[in-house]
């Protein structure tokens, strides 16, 4: 069974990596951004499997992005691997601080407290004019172990980097979801009491899921800022987090690849509605959202996953 996970990981990598050849420039950028955001959403999926949804994942997206930017600008680090590691480490620490606190909350309260935390960050960053305030900061192009590409090679390298990270994290998360703890998490979503009475700590499970979400959020934010070249406090604003939740709901918690497909669909829909309905793109997006929620109540993943039905 485990072999098939690795096999599909390889297939996914090859399929996505092929994009670096066939995709035009704008689409490759769009895909890279979508995949980076998909990483953040994958973290939400991990929490969703435990029955909670964070409306404040922008917190880690933003911390990751600012960490990378500040380190790059002040310490002169431009290596993408190092930047990703450092941002992830910072997010890990912050996640470990808030995780145990948030693991006591459920439903709308979890959603709102996580939102409040990210809004406090938003407010604080907006005030810090020495790091750009609401205007934010720019970050230069990353280097790859000393190699400093420009133009299309840079975009290709970035794209392949995010593809690699996506496939690795996707595979790890799939292994986690299928693991004993993964199944217990799913049971928690259903019936917390049962899980506690079987002798497992629900708080502990929730904390882990939250910390994984923090890590993925930080990595997503780092890649996003390196692709964009710019970060501002909007990264932590509630609408940013709301978009992540939307992707997570669109994908459903059943399938890992669905998260990234959903992220790409959203980016495409938004980009084209922006251009073709510049005055009513919000309307178009809202209708799209409603249609998705009505048509696919369990998310895109339910199209391909048979988990809901009897397995005979």
């Amino acid at each position: 069974m485990r072999m098939s996970v690795y096999l599909s990981a390889i297939i996914a990598f090859v399929a996505l990596a092929a994009g670096s050849i066939i995709l035009p420039d704008w689409a490759m950028f769009l895909f890279a951004m979508a995949l980076a955001k998909g990483l953040v959403c994958l973290g939400i999926i991990g929490m969703m499997r435990g029955g909670v949804v964070s409306f404040g994942q922008g917190l880690y997206y933003c911390i990751g992005a600012y960490t990378a930017t500040l380190i790059a600008n002040h310490l002169g680090v431009s290596d993408i691997f190092l930047l990703t590691l450092l941002s992830a480490a910072v997010c890990l620490v912050v996640g470990l601080v808030f995780g145990p606190l948030l693991s006591n909350y459920r439903g709308i309260f979890f959603a709102m407290l996580s939102l409040a935390l990210s809004m406090v960050l938003y407010g604080s960053l907006s005030k810090m004019s020495f790091i750009g305030g609401t205007d934010g900061l720019n970050i230069g192009a990353p280097t790859f172990l000393g190699w400093a590409p420009e133009g299309r090679p840079l975009q290709t390298a970035l794209y392949l980097y995010v593809v690699a990270i996506v496939v690795i994290s996707g595979t790890l998360m799939r292994i986690y979801f299928d693991s004993e703890r993964g199944l217990i998490t799913l049971a928690t979503r259903d019936n917390e009491l049962r899980v506690e009475y079987l002798g497992a700590s629900v708080r502990n499970l929730m904390t882990y899921n939250y910390v994984f979400g923090a890590l993925l959020g930080g990595i997503g934010g780092t890649i996003a800022v390196l692709a964009l070249g710019h970060v501002d406090p909007e990264f932590a604003f509630w609408t940013t987090s709301g978009e992540f939740v939307f992707v997570a709901i669109l994908a459903g918690y059943l399938s890992v690849p669905a998260v990234f497909v959903a992220a790409i669909i959203l980016e495409l829909v938004r980009s084209f509605s922006n251009l073709y309905f510049p005055n009513t793109w919000q309307l178009a997006l809202g209708i799209f959202l409603l249609v998705v929620i009505v048509a696919l109540p369990n998310g895109l993943g339910s199209l391909v996953s048979k988990r809901k039905e009897n397995k005979t």
Binding site: L183, R189, V195, E196
Partner: protein
Amino acid sequence: MSAGVLEVRDVQKSFGAVTAAKDVSVTVPQGSVYSLIGTNGAGKTTFVNMVTGYIKPDAGQINFDGRDIAGLAPRQITRLGIHRSFQIAQLCNELTVEENMLVAGAIHGKTGPSFLRRADDGSARDRALATLERFNIAEHRNRLIPELSGGVKKLLDIAMAMAGETQVMLLDEPTSGVAADEKFPIMDLVIEALRAEGVTVIFVEHDMDIVTRYSERVLAFYDGQIIADDAPDEVLSDPEVQRYVTGGPA
């Protein structure tokens, strides 16, 4: 004090003006089968809830293996070997019967639940299947919970509680919500399985036929107090019990 003895001493609990437990004291030796009787609100479920950690007593001690467990969290008590079932079977409705069992198995695995080991790898499934077979519900293993009959749900609920090392099992109304003709077969199955492992059993029951048939000793509750603690026949013929609990001679 010998191993496996559950000793409840002077336990008190009130919810606002309602007294749910008053000076409750009882010693349950290892391997015995006790039943709890009483009208609704008499304090039976409160007793179960206090022993298993859902409710913290206001005062008093609950000793198990010589350690006071009053006020511990449910999962800590479970880890000590005291398990329970529920009036309304507590199952994961979005999972299949087998997956429910795998959850229980994963939590009680030797090394604790893993981030990497597949929940449904071969040996785990074998173990789950064995337990399901012991409780005669293996045929339902691929069905989702809402499709099951009350009796199967109850059995699964108990089977899950049995996944770990069990020393004491508290069954909260094991036959409620079960069709009349299934009650005795289920009790036969459950009590036999538990006794085979030398587990101490405490069950809450309204059906006096079941009480007399399966328990060695009966605790009768009234208004938060234990008003009788004796063999079934003695308790059921006690006039006080007849007045407050059974509503007439058995």
